[in-house]
């Protein structure tokens, strides 16, 4: 067991100062705005919980929260199983392993707005590779700047393109840590592919899968740059996710009070759902 040693505090002090500086000061600013009303001229008035009530009752907030929830749900439902399948079918050793890892990790290292711009170029109806293929080869009418369904599909496919690799890399890391002896034993017992997956591979991947689900949840729930660059929230409000709406209110309309209240509600939801996932996924470990 680890020793009790309060000296630990000196070791974590630099981290504490730097993170607290970046986290607490802005957070207090947000809390400060969320309970005040302003009519300009830097004059602020106490507004109590008014903004919170307004936001929680506002149709606009419900709509963008709904879109955000749908987006995150679809992302998790597609990326996690897909990532597991790809990780399972990857080679375990040999020349192709580094090739796979490097090419798969590539989308993770492209700046987020470049990803938006890249997909924009890729899907232009007449001169983009995907847009041209859909419109002129398949004959499907595809234009994501006008059709909300096409915009949604494009945003989701882009996120799958961008982030599935993270799930793949994590699951792959879990898989390669399984000793060969496990597989040999399963073979002797005549286990089917499914039972090898269910009783050997899945339990070994559980820890990394928890991290993958948590990271994908947090990042897809907070996603901003890529869909904003790709669609700008349009057509209409079709792809205005919660974060895009928030930035519109805060920096576009400069409604600091409502934006701050919305930020806090947003943060609380993220925190709560992350905690829920974490508790549910690690529940069996302690038993």
């Amino acid at each position: 067991m680890r020793k009790v040693n309060q000296r630990g505090w000196f070791f974590v002090l630099p981290v504490l100062i730097l993170v607290a500086f970046n986290a607490l000061v802005p957070m207090m600013t947000v809390v400060n705005y969320s309970v005040q009303e302003t009519f300009g001229n830097n004059q602020f008035f106490w507004h109590g919980l008014g903004w919170f009530q307004d936001i929680l009752r506002s149709e606009r907030f419900h709509a963008s929260l709904g879109r955000q929830a749908l987006f995150t749900f679809m992302i998790l439902a597609i990326e996690v199983p897909l990532g597991v399948i790809i990780a399972l079918s990857m080679p375990r050793k040999g020349f192709w392993v580094p090739v796979c890892l490097v090419t798969m990790a590539l989308p993770l290292l492209i700046p987020w707005n470049v990803i938006g711009a890249m997909w924009n170029i890729f899907t232009l109806p007449d001169i983009g590779l995907l847009g041209y293929f859909m419109n002129h080869v398949l004959g499907v009418n595809y234009n994501m700047t006008q059709d909300p369904v096409a915009a949604w599909i494009t945003v989701i496919v882009m996120d799958v393109w961008h982030w599935t690799s993270l799930v793949v890399l994590l699951c792959y890391a879990g898989l390669v840590s399984i000793p060969d002896a496990y597989y040999q034993a399963a073979k002797i017992d005549g286990a089917s592919n499914w039972s090898v997956f269910r009783y050997i591979q899945l339990p070994k991947m559980k820890q990394v899968l928890t991290i993958a689900v948590l990271l994908r949840f947090m990042d897809s729930f907070n996603v901003y740059t890529e869909p904003f660059v790709l669609t700008g929230g349009g057509p209409g409000n079709a792809t205005t996710l919660l974060s895009i709406d928030l930035v519109k209110i805060a920096l576009g309309q400069f409604d600091l009070g409502p934006a701050a209240a919305m930020s806090l509600i947003y943060f609380a939801i993220t925190l709560f759902v992350s905690w829920l996932f974490y508790t549910l996924m690690t529940r069996n470990d302690t038993q």
């Binding site: 993170v19 890892l101 490097v102 001169i127 890399l169 907070n222 920096l251 993220t270």
Partner: protein
């Protein structure tokens, strides 16, 4: 076995298509891009790249990005090392709560912090400096670095520390000469992830800079809207942002996956 290989191959093809299109676009002339569809550049041109490498507003964008990413990686890893050591070796008042609190900072949407960050860094006079962006990115990079390093350090047996102290090593000497070399893979992985998240983040970097420390990604958005959508130039700038990432991945390819796998959930 052969049948299985289809899945990764299809996936990699899917990943490469948009990248191919970006690269192909960057070698086309503007007339060709706007003139219609062509799978390969009919006339290869380096004009877009030439513009980027000769125009200071473009190439300074790259230099700025690389400067603040490097500063951030150095700060994050340096302060995370002792903290991760404490979390992996000692128990102290509030250690679990502190660890969890650190991780919650990864959950705050950057969009929430954009405006307060702008006010905070303006107030302390760091607005539009590389240090401002580097410090702001610490918000999510330090927790990540602590998390990864703690996982690696937990794998090192405690006997190593005890033996070194018996041999008369002082703590700083032990840490630098004995402990660091044993976890150098972990340091590499942590540095890789710090580099990655600082390199790809744009919202805060853009909010905290105006002219002198403007990142390349922000230069791109400005040009795209003002100069009448020069797709070739945009594509070339995008292609160049992929290169540093590709180089870094190649160096850490054997450790990428391991980094997260060893972290504590």
């Amino acid at each position: 076995m052969k049948k299985r290989a289809i899945i990764p191959i299809l996936y990699i093809v899917f990943l490469m298509l948009p990248i191919y299109w970006l690269v192909a676009m960057s070698f086309k002339t503007t007339q060709e891009i706007l003139g219609g569809f062509s799978l390969f550049p009919r006339v290869w041109t380096l004009a877009s790249y030439k513009t980027i490498f000769t125009d200071p507003t473009w190439y300074w964008g790259y230099i700025n990005s690389i400067i603040y990413v490097t500063i951030n990686t150095l700060i994050s890893v340096t302060v995370a090392l002792p903290a991760a050591y404490a979390f992996s070796r000692y128990r102290f008042l509030g250690d679990k709560q502190l660890f969890f609190w650190l991780l919650t900072n990864r959950m705050a949407p950057a969009a929430v912090f954009a405006l307060p960050f702008f006010q905070l860094y303006s107030a302390i006079g760091l607005f539009d400096t590389h240090v401002a962006v580097a410090l702001a990115h610490c918000l999510f990079n330090i927790p990540l670095a602590v998390w990864i390093l703690e996982g690696f350090m937990r794998g090192v047996p405690k006997e190593l520390d005890e033996t070194a102290f018996v041999d008369g090593y002082s703590f700083p000497r032990f840490f630098v000469q004995v402990f660091l070399p044993t976890i150098k893979a972990g340091v590499g992985v942590a540095a890789f992830f710090c580099f990655m998240f600082s390199w790809v983040e744009l919202l805060l970097a853009k909010t905290l800079t105006a002219v002198y420390a403007k990142p390349i990604a922000a230069t791109m958005t400005r040009t795209a809207s003002s100069a009448g959508y020069e797709l070739g130039l945009l594509a070339a700038a995008g292609t160049l942002t992929i290169i540093p990432g590709a180089i870094v991945i190649w160096f850490v390819r054997n450790y990428i996956a391991k980094g997260f796998a060893l972290g504590r959930v």
